[in-house]
Symmetry: C2
Subunit: 349 residues, 2 copies
Amino acid sequence: MELEEFKREIDPLILDFLDRKIKNLPSHANKNVDYYLEYLKKFLTEGKRIRPYLAYITYKAYGGKKDKEAINLLIFLELFHAFALIHDDIMDKADKRHDIPTAHQYIKSYVSNIRDIDSLHFGVSEAILLGDYLYSWTNELLNSNKKFEEKILRKVRDIFFRMNDEVFLGQMIDFDITLNEKANEKDITDKTILKTAYYSFVRPMHIGAALTGNSFDEKFFINFGKALGLAFQTQDDLLDIKYDESQTHKSSFNDIAARQQTVFVYHVFHKGSKSQKDLLSRYFGKKLNNSEKLKLRKIFEDSGAINYGEKIMKENFNQARKILMKQKIDKKHKTQFLNLVEKIERRTS
Amino acid sequence: MELEEFKREIDPLILDFLDRKIKNLPSHANKNVDYYLEYLKKFLTEGKRIRPYLAYITYKAYGGKKDKEAINLLIFLELFHAFALIHDDIMDKADKRHDIPTAHQYIKSYVSNIRDIDSLHFGVSEAILLGDYLYSWTNELLNSNKKFEEKILRKVRDIFFRMNDEVFLGQMIDFDITLNEKANEKDITDKTILKTAYYSFVRPMHIGAALTGNSFDEKFFINFGKALGLAFQTQDDLLDIKYDESQTHKSSFNDIAARQQTVFVYHVFHKGSKSQKDLLSRYFGKKLNNSEKLKLRKIFEDSGAINYGEKIMKENFNQARKILMKQKIDKKHKTQFLNLVEKIERRTS
């Protein structure tokens, strides 16, 4: 099954689950709360489903046979992801994601005409709770499953909790290094490995394999996931500065506004000319207007940062493919992994 | 076992658990993150442990025999509570809790001398993650327990997830009604029942009883918990406006600053004189200075709001006792419940 078909299968399951959960909340009189909760359904119709798909093809490659049951369980990865994004978007002060407002912005707009209300704080507060709900439902879903043996589920939950520890730590470091213009290189590596490589690639594969109940070698997931993760993160950072919003469907130069440490920022601050460094320093932490965006984009190009980043990206995509080719997986499943790498490499959003 | 002795037993278990979790996080180079995580240990040395204690005495009253194992498991209620408080304090813009700074304030102070940093936003962001960590560890602890039968644990987790749905909904409503000066009365009742009665009393008892594996009647928990919850919430709201900070160890008039709908606010807005309403309206949503606090306190007294609230409180504490007296529980355990009600009734913080 390719990614697009998988998305068509899993999407209705995600929405059904949300619908059921929201309908079964305790009865109450507050209509606004219903409006806030509706956002979760809007938000979760979007997304590429890369993480559950990767878990799924790993499940198949390692001999998993319960296709439907596996997909039904793996929606937990999307619920968790949506939770993490809602909380992250608060921290990054992001306004848009997937072409729709972020949760706190959606709620902020709803109350912005009410007198004496700090509408941003209000939006942030209710959005924290929307995230908490999704996280609770992630755990509930993992707990209530009866289609897999308890022993297997326990193992999956163990990996899931390890992933939680990793991704929160990655996010804590990621946010912490926004304190300084020149971040410690080790911090940048740590956060990319924890928050991108392990979270998006290593652990989904690990979970897919564990779900089979069969034996597996974690090393393949780690090596492949690290290469793919490094490529993916660099690509993500590149999309933020190289393309227009019309193309990526996200606000651009958001990383700059949020003082995110990327390989591109690092390159300009360490290899750029004095005037290039000064301009980046002046713009760092600012929401830029269009002409400022063009100026800064030119600096990323002229300083060689973009070339450098594109090289890292390419090398790591190739490295991921090389690791795949060497791995003993049958051809049919190997092709699915290779196709996924290619799809990620070609993404524009 | 009385509450104080229980606290002495459970406190080291909570700190040991946190210590182990923090030490076992993936290795990293970021010292600030270690400083943020240390906060969790400071925060969790405080607290009265009412929820796990209530679960514990219910466990004993319904025939539970594994004392140590039960206490070890019930720390999950305190981890969850600390998570909920950290996120709530962000929403309520609270500066202090238990005489120490709230999580976001603790982190805000740490970075407040760094140039160009929105230190409050930074504190809030890292505090959201501290909460997320505690919430994850709550689930992990419930998942990894091997001292109780899986069937029992599954039941406990089911109740826990129901409690999650209730408390988040209660908090969403609670925060939503800060939008209006005059809240819908049904909203106020809904949030008090969900967020105080069920969360602090009904579900802890329910969990304690479920942990025995024996049969029980949920109705007792609901009736007793609702009366105690209504009394407790009214008392909580009273403590905010009637006493000085030196006595309660929390900032006072915080509910007013956070536009919280309490029975006292409701009373003044519906039964107060025009000048009383006007003053409350002017102060609603404001951080008050000391002379403003004194003025507002006088209005709560003169309007009869405080008398009215104290009456509700007294009636409901008595109602809780009446329900207890009628319940078939042996005398020894009944005394523990009665002592707890009395301790709550006498609290000044």
